[in-house]
């Protein structure tokens, strides 16, 4: 079934990319872990919508499956696992600000500008690539990295990794209409199992160190 022509699809992908960029910039300001996990689910939903747009434009059946996998993995399972871990370790102190959030926001905006500046020349070479999707994808990647550097709680680091992965997912959707189905499935399984193992190690760290601040993990040197 082909519902959209390429122009409509491009417009829709542009809007979805902008919304994703807003969630990425917003994630820098959000300090409550629970909210940042829920924001990941929102990003997942937007990514699934992007995959669905591609599916409805190209009629490729694997794109429908990809959209479904995205909903299951990124909206339901991964945030679910993280919320459960959060619930089990019951943090005493929520707020953590290594970099004040206003400065972090400025940095994130700066990274976004860099991404647009660097990527736009490449993006314009291809018809299907939309103006916004590729630079947004790179912005998500860089902001995810910033989150990991700026926040020390183990769960924040996991959130940062998933945000980076979301950026790559958007790039895959926009540049190549999604990855081959077998790879898509494999990446999904890796993400689920990876988050499960990271959650497990986070719980063990919490039990052993009585904190999930990764600053306390620095006894191994040299």
């Amino acid at each position: 079934m082909v519902l959209f022509d390429v122009e409509t699809a491009r417009g829709l992908l542009n809007s979805i990319s902008l919304l994703l960029l807003v969630t990425a910039l917003g994630s820098v300001l959000i300090l409550r872990l629970e909210s940042s996990i829920r924001l990941l689910a929102v990003q997942g939903l937007l990514l699934a919508a992007a995959a669905a747009v591609v599916a409805l434009t190209t009629g490729a059946s694997h794109a429908y499956v990809a959209a479904a996998i995205t909903v299951i993995v990124k909206v339901l399972i991964v945030p679910g696992i993280l919320l459960r871990v959060l619930c089990e370790i019951r943090l005493k102190k929520e707020v953590e600000a290594v970099i004040p959030s206003r400065i972090a926001l400025l940095l994130a905006i700066g990274l976004t500008l860099v991404a647009y500046y660097v990527v736009s020349p490449i993006a314009s070479r291809d018809a299907f690539l939309t103006g916004n999707a590729l630079p947004t994808a790179v912005s998500l990647l860089l902001i995810g990295l910033l989150t990991m550097l700026a926040r020390k709680k183990a769960i924040s680091q996991i959130v940062g990794i998933i945000a980076m992965e979301n950026g790559l997912y958007l790039m895959a959707v926009a540049a190549t209409r999604g990855l081959p189905l077998a790879v898509e499935l494999g990446v999904g399984v890796d993400l689920v199992v990876g988050v499960m193992v990271m959650g497990l190690v986070t719980r063990q760290i919490h039990r052993t160190f009585d904190t999930i601040n990764t600053d306390h993990l620095r006894s191994l040197r040299g």
């Binding site: 540049a175 990855l179 790879v183 399984v189 890796d190 990876g194 990271m198 190690v201 993990l217 006894s219």
Partner: protein, 489 residues
């Protein structure tokens, strides 16, 4: 057939080990499963070296000489470490370091870990290669953190986070490659390695250069290239010793294998200089960075981990230099280093259980306390530092020779100086541990028949390949060399 056995037996073995109620049953299953995996892997490799390639499921799985070489390294070290695990984990249970009911879980993770590495080298798809390499991190992190101590958890966490972030960059490279492939070859080619290698000349050179840089960062993190190696000494020192042997001897090479696959495509797309020079640079940096850490090291297992940074660097230098000698030496070094490092981590396992520490200052008079282990410590140190007549000497000599042969005299001189300093440093550490006065009375540690096999086999290979590489082995390596088409020269 052998391919299917290879891809099912490790998983079945692991699951059964977890399900059986008794530790002794899990141990027997582990030994049987590892033996079958070894047999299937060697049979497959032999078939590939004889007929050139093997594939299954319509080329979804594809094994050529390069992957066969990796399969041999994985199954041989995997087998030895599985045997060594039996006695080692039993002693850990006796010492109260591990509960008896955790043993099944250990073997499940261990065999799943071997399975992910095997899957990585037999898939004919660069995307699935990425999936498998990421899976190796996830599974082996459980083994790194197996002891659950503060240090082990710290190492497991750093390993998970740094390698996952690193490998995210590799996924970016994979996506760029897919983008280039879709534009040039259409959707059918996908990420199939065979299709990409055959049509590499049609790929956009600019995109492929960018892709290679990201893949090198990503898989290079897994291969332990400096300056991306920060996780490595922690993970390799905190894991149980048999796992350390696999992490150092095998897993790093699976990361390198990922780099090499993209290297071959990049060479086809943009010519040999670009990716070869990057490999040469990262390799040389890794060798040089490892040297001071080896000199001042206090912990035996961290010392061995830094040796791995050095040797993976050497292999990268060899591939980067190219030429028939360099490539041959570099690829054979994959195996030689795996044997030497396997042997040394088993020795380190024996010593650490006997002395109750991996601090080298507290390991003294090993020759008297544990005669066979002490002798093997000295022998293994000779072997890993490239003293003749051991196997590593031959391949290191070849790599340095390739430096001179390709006119890169500076590279060769830097390698010689670095190797000489490493020899002096490592040998000093080994002498201190082997001789000197024992400080305390220690309970004896029984190595057992399986442990003896695990120590004897790599020693035999170190000596044999030092004086004589059998014809079929050298032909097999030559087949892998031929895939690189001579490299830079």
């Amino acid at each position: 057939m052998d391919l299917l056995v290879l891809l099912t037996v490790p998983l079945i073995t692991g699951l059964l080990c977890r399900l059986v109620p008794r530790q002794s049953w899990a141990e027997s299953l582990n030994a049987v499963g590892a033996t079958v995996t070894l047999g299937a892997g060697l049979a497959l490799a032999l078939r590939v070296f004889r007929v050139g390639q093997a594939s299954a499921f319509g080329e979804l799985l594809y094994v050529d000489a390069l992957s066969a070489l990796l399969i041999v390294v994985i199954v041989v070290v995997g087998f030895l470490a599985a045997l060594y695990s039996i006695g080692y984990m039993r002693r850990d249970v006796d010492h109260g370091k591990v509960r008896s009911d955790q043993i099944g879980w250990y073997y499940l993770c261990y065999h799943a870990f071997v399975w992910t590495m095997l899957a990585g080298v037999v898939v004919n798809n660069l995307g699935l290669l990425w999936v498998a390499i990421e899976a190796t991190t996830i599974v082996s992190a459980l083994l790194v953190g197996f002891y659950g101590s503060k240090a082990a958890l710290e190492a497991a966490w750093k390993y998970l986070i740094l390698c996952t972030v690193g490998i995210t960059f590799a996924l970016f490279g994979v996506l760029l490659t897919y983008y280039a492939s879709e534009r040039a070859l259409g959707e059918e080619a996908g990420l199939s390695w065979t299709a990409l290698a055959a049509h590499a000349g049609q790929l956009d050179p600019g995109l492929m250069k960018l892709a290679f840089v990201f893949v090198l960062i990503g898989f290079g993190t897994k291969a332990g290239f400096a300056p991306l190696h920060n996780w490595l000494p922690d993970a390799h020192s905190q894991a149980p010793s048999p796992v350390s042997a696999v992490l150092s001897g095998v897993l790093l090479k699976c990361g390198l294998y990922g780099v090499l696959r993209f290297h071959l495509i990049t060479v086809g797309a943009v010519g040999p200089e670009f990716s070869s020079n990057l490999l040469l640079g990262f390799g040389l940096l890794s060798v040089v960075v490892a040297v001071p850490f080896i000199l001042v090291q206090r912990d035996l297992k961290r010392l061995l981990a830094y040796h791995s940074v050095e040797h993976l660097g050497l292999i990268a230098v060899a591939i980067g230099l190219g030429g028939p000698i360099g490539l041959y030496a570099g690829l054979l070094h994959l195996f030689n280093h795996a044997m030497a490092k396997g042997l040394l981590f088993f020795v380190a396992g024996n010593l650490s259980q006997r002395y109750g520490t991996t601090q080298m200052a507290r390991i003294r008079s090993a020759i008297q306390v544990m005669p066979s282990t002490g002798v093997l410590l000295l022998l293994g140190t000779f072997a890993i530092t490239g003293v003749p007549p051991f196997a590593v000497f031959v391949t290191e000599f070849g790599i340095v020779g390739a430096g001179f042969a390709s006119g890169k005299v500076i590279v060769a001189v830097v390698l010689i100086v670095a190797l000489a300093i490493v020899f002096a440093g490592a040998f000093g550490h080994a002498l201190d541990m082997a001789f000197g006065r024992p400080r305390l009375r220690l309970a004896p540690v029984m190595i057992g028949p399986f442990g003896a096999i695990a120590l004897a086999v790599p020693t035999a290979f170190m000596v044999l390949f030092g004086v004589y590489v059998p014809g079929p082995v050298s032909q097999a390596v030559q087949q892998a060399v031929a895939m690189f088409g001579g490299g830079l020269q």
